[in-house]
Subunit: 437 residues, 2 copies
Amino acid sequence: MSRPLKIAVAGLGTVGVGTLKVLETHARSLERRSGRPIAVSAVSARERDKKRPVSTDGLAWYDDAAVMAAEADAEVVVELIGGPDGIAKQVCEAAIAAGRHVVTANKALIAEHGTALARAAEAAGVSLSYEAAVAGGIPIVKALREGLAANGLSRVYGILNGTCNYILTNMRESGRSFDDVLEEAQRLGYAEADPGFDVDGIDAAHKLAILAALAFGCEVDFAAVHVEGIRRVSPLDIRFADELGYRIKLLGIAALTNGELEQRVHPCMVPVQAPIASVEGVFNAVVADGDFVDTLMQEGRGAGEGPTASAVVADLVDIARGYATPTFAIPAAELRRLAPASMQRHWGAYYVRLIVVDRPGVFADIAAAMRDFDVSMESVLQHGRDPGETVSVVMTTHETEEAAMTGTIQAIESLDAVVEPPCLIRIESFAPPAARE
Amino acid sequence: MSRPLKIAVAGLGTVGVGTLKVLETHARSLERRSGRPIAVSAVSARERDKKRPVSTDGLAWYDDAAVMAAEADAEVVVELIGGPDGIAKQVCEAAIAAGRHVVTANKALIAEHGTALARAAEAAGVSLSYEAAVAGGIPIVKALREGLAANGLSRVYGILNGTCNYILTNMRESGRSFDDVLEEAQRLGYAEADPGFDVDGIDAAHKLAILAALAFGCEVDFAAVHVEGIRRVSPLDIRFADELGYRIKLLGIAALTNGELEQRVHPCMVPVQAPIASVEGVFNAVVADGDFVDTLMQEGRGAGEGPTASAVVADLVDIARGYATPTFAIPAAELRRLAPASMQRHWGAYYVRLIVVDRPGVFADIAAAMRDFDVSMESVLQHGRDPGETVSVVMTTHETEEAAMTGTIQAIESLDAVVEPPCLIRIESFAPPAARE
């Protein structure tokens, strides 16, 4: 049998432990698939003596992961520390500088420094692999880099954060508030103690920026992603969505629009018939629209020890077989720098929920504001009627430009009878790409 | 730029033309991804002078595809003729014998001769690639060979025939009969003039046998697939399914059960909440259950010029990059020969629809037949009541062994009051693999 592929693992948290478990459980099968054994030779973690469910006996131990990346007896460094900068970045840079392949699950790192790292890896003649960084167990990086290689892609979108999808699913099923469900998710381990990274959309935005670079052959541009989280989605909105035939999902959407790169993460109203509407709970899904393949959806677990480790090890098998696909599918020097599409020029339909004092003339004022900005109403719903008290009013619009909606919302917000900032949620009909041109 | 990858294309039907279109449309992008141009050097088809939407000017023309496979100036032969034997098989064998890689969309060929061809390809040091043979545009072969390489798979199943799914979807939406909807599908080009290959489940069985070999590392065993088609599904069954919370889908299901290979294609009752239940129309979907990744579903177009050509060209890009994954993920010599699981030992719940004369005592006779075979009823539905006339009665059972159901059905069928052969449809709850052990 050929010489083993030796790997050094930086970080022995959930994913690091999972990776060691996969390598041990399926050693023989992985060797068959790879044509050679995959052997961990070195590990690094914060605490050497911590009790772990996998043994590190016989492996070289490094207190400093960057030193390990530079010096360990390994062809591949697996970076599972996390974070866009600091030690994780040092580990990857040191590994590349030392001519070692890098496998990482670090979405923040790839989203913020992906282009530079891809250039460095290419110059050094090593692979930079990150299947585990996007949508966990779903092999979407491979699908975009290889499986859909024959397509020009016009759009890629998905449910990229399991915590948000769990919260939105649970809010709908239980009728409870965001805060209530978040608190429960934290108790169950589906949400972090500091949930902002997930519920404010940052994590989804990291993944979306990576998907966009892969789909469109462009430099990763995380800073240009328009990001809104789910904190403002209320049980009222979820009820109205049901009534209107929608589900509320936090989506990341990237598209090429008139040669500009559209990247946005925000809550969306999705028709219940759309396949992505029935992706529930902690599951992730990614949809790609290509000119030959039409539409492809993948659904699976986006996080967790097993699915993430599955993705890490798939990357290792490719490296063991000698496969070296460019980081973002084409040579780094050929990645385009795309101008970001302006969110104010976004074209679409909108859902607006207002809390207003129920008195004569209010609706005339709202309608006038819409007319002034040339926004055309599609439907209006109002539940209950308590003269002098507040009621919720929901409107959906026909397609219009975001700038017009922004103006409309500002005008409506300034009305005396409107007692809370309006809640605006974009409606995504998922018309086929051809129909969008 | 490096030397081009020269390819010879055998067959210029829908997929052949589509492949040439993709190669022309995305020539520059494919070159970037592959590191070298992909160039068609030779073609073969039945009629040289036929009008085609792509030009074959400047390409070497062969009347005999097998001669082309052996002699053309090409590293890869793309076989798009179809059929399990005859010229298609000769083309692939000639190509392999001449040391050329083979890319094929031919599910019948791989299902019936996959193991032998894999051995031959491996001995010759060439690739045998067939992404287009299973589920068209869905890159499921790549997902099973590479993306899920880190997993032990326990089950793979899916909607593998778009014609059947189109017919079943349409029957449900329109309430019309199988024959009616088939006739319409034929008019619209979704079904062949001779529909048996699709509606009798053969096509799905070809694909399932390939998926099973990939998923479980075993020899392809098409002959062992239990196959039933959808001709006997009636509008009544579809209505009852709705009422019971199910959708009827033609599924292909392959699983490892006590070390035996279970492979079956037949109509199934699937809970409406199951993600696969909402895969409608001509779409295909494949679900894989792995020990680390948990469950992964892919949904997309399973046929047609664009999606199939997309898969063919993805295989070409891999070959251009020098990737050579073993045909069924592991070396051909290591493919296991698995004993087929007996269908009579299948364990599951059942839906049975009877047409009976509505008179006293009938139901007691039916219940006695079930008791005699130890089959326990879960629910009974009867619509209408016309003493002395025929009515339809539907029962669902708790889980039981297929042999017991076979006995029960024979006993019921022999009753005077039962006026038509009972219709039996297996219920698939898709319990997580862990719960099935």
